[in-house]
């Protein structure tokens, strides 16, 4: 198993013969091999990261489709944290993988009209993200909560920075 994984990762990182995504999932998900794979990956975080990047790259590639296991893995793995974050967001927007949606933005908001607050709580039902509540009716919420408020046309104001606000241009230097 370890030889197989080593060759799998080596070939994934080379430019020659990419493994199929089926190979990756078979190696990681096979119940019989799971203890060995877990121990192998625990000792080698760099390999674990490579597999993670491989899977993300496949799921977010233009032709990527979890339904087609014969599809070769695309080569351009995201390198920087910013690129990886953008890749994760793209995966989430495409609805590919719920489990990768770990980088949701958080917002501090206030629902100004007291009579709208119960409506907001009704709109939040079923959202799996947690939220917080502070004195003076300030709420700490995630993107899904904000989308629910917008969908139900419940007015609110941002206490944290409004994400839709255009960045201000620096004044021209004299």
């Amino acid at each position: 198993m370890t030889d197989f994984l080593t060759s799998l990762i080596s070939s994934a990182l080379s430019e020659e013969t990419p493994p199929s995504i089926e190979d990756v999932f078979t190696a990681v998900e096979s119940p019989g091999a799971r203890p060995q794979v877990s121990e192998y990956l625990r000792q080698r975080p760099h390999v674990r990261e490579s597999i993670h990047v491989l899977v993300i790259t496949f799921l977010t590639s233009d032709k990527g489709d979890r339904q087609d296991p014969s599809m070769p893995v695309k080569k351009q793995a995201p390198s920087t944290a910013a690129e990886q974050s953008a890749t994760l967001e793209k995966a989430a927007q495409n609805g590919n993988v719920d489990s990768f949606r770990t980088r949701t933005r958080r917002h501090l908001i206030r629902i100004v009209k007291p009579e709208d607050r119960p409506k907001a709580l009704a709109a939040f039902r079923g959202i799996r993200e947690s939220r917080t509540r502070f004195p003076n009716d300030i709420m700490g919420v995630g993107d899904d909560h904000v989308r629910a408020l917008e969908r139900e046309r419940i007015s609110f104001e941002y206490v944290s920075k409004d994400p839709h606000e255009q960045p201000r241009k620096a004044p021209p230097s004299v």
Partner: protein
């Protein structure tokens, strides 16, 4: 589980106001024990042969959230959880909303949440409202 002869009424947060004070605030940071209370608010219940019945209204939720946030300087509301089990031999399923609060490890905190539990049981006509308390050390 509710009894049909007792109608539900809105949750009354005013009963908690005399029990609130700065002594309830958890000490966060610097090394201290805190109590983490989790109040499981029942949103609905489903029994065999019956439609799903709403229990706490969104007005009750809002009232409880607002009150706990003001009395403890904040709380977390986790995602809904589902409880399953047998009650008097009949299967029952509930949807519960967890409210998580850090409080000072003092008798006043126990009294506050004991009163809250009783008030919720009365208002929502429930045999019991689950309130959990865990002791934590905050570094």
């Amino acid at each position: 589980m509710s009894s049909p002869e007792r109608p539900r009424r809105p949750f009354n947060p005013e009963i908690l106001t005399p029990l609130s004070s700065a002594s309830l605030f958890a000490r966060i940071g610097g090394g201290a024990i805190v109590w983490r209370f989790t109040v499981l608010l029942p949103l609905d219940e489903t029994k065999p042969g019956a439609d799903t019945e709403s229990i706490a209204t969104v007005e009750d939720q809002e009232s409880l959230e607002h009150t706990l946030a003001e009395h403890f300087q904040g709380l977390s509301v986790l995602s809904e959880i589902h409880g399953h089990g047998l009650r008097a031999g009949e299967p029952e399923e509930n949807t519960l909303l967890p409210f998580v609060v850090y409080a000072a490890p003092v008798t006043e905190s126990d009294k506050y949440f004991g009163t809250l539990k009783e008030e919720l049981q009365e208002a929502l006509d429930q045999d019991t409202i689950l309130v959990e308390r865990q002791e934590l050390w905050i570094l």
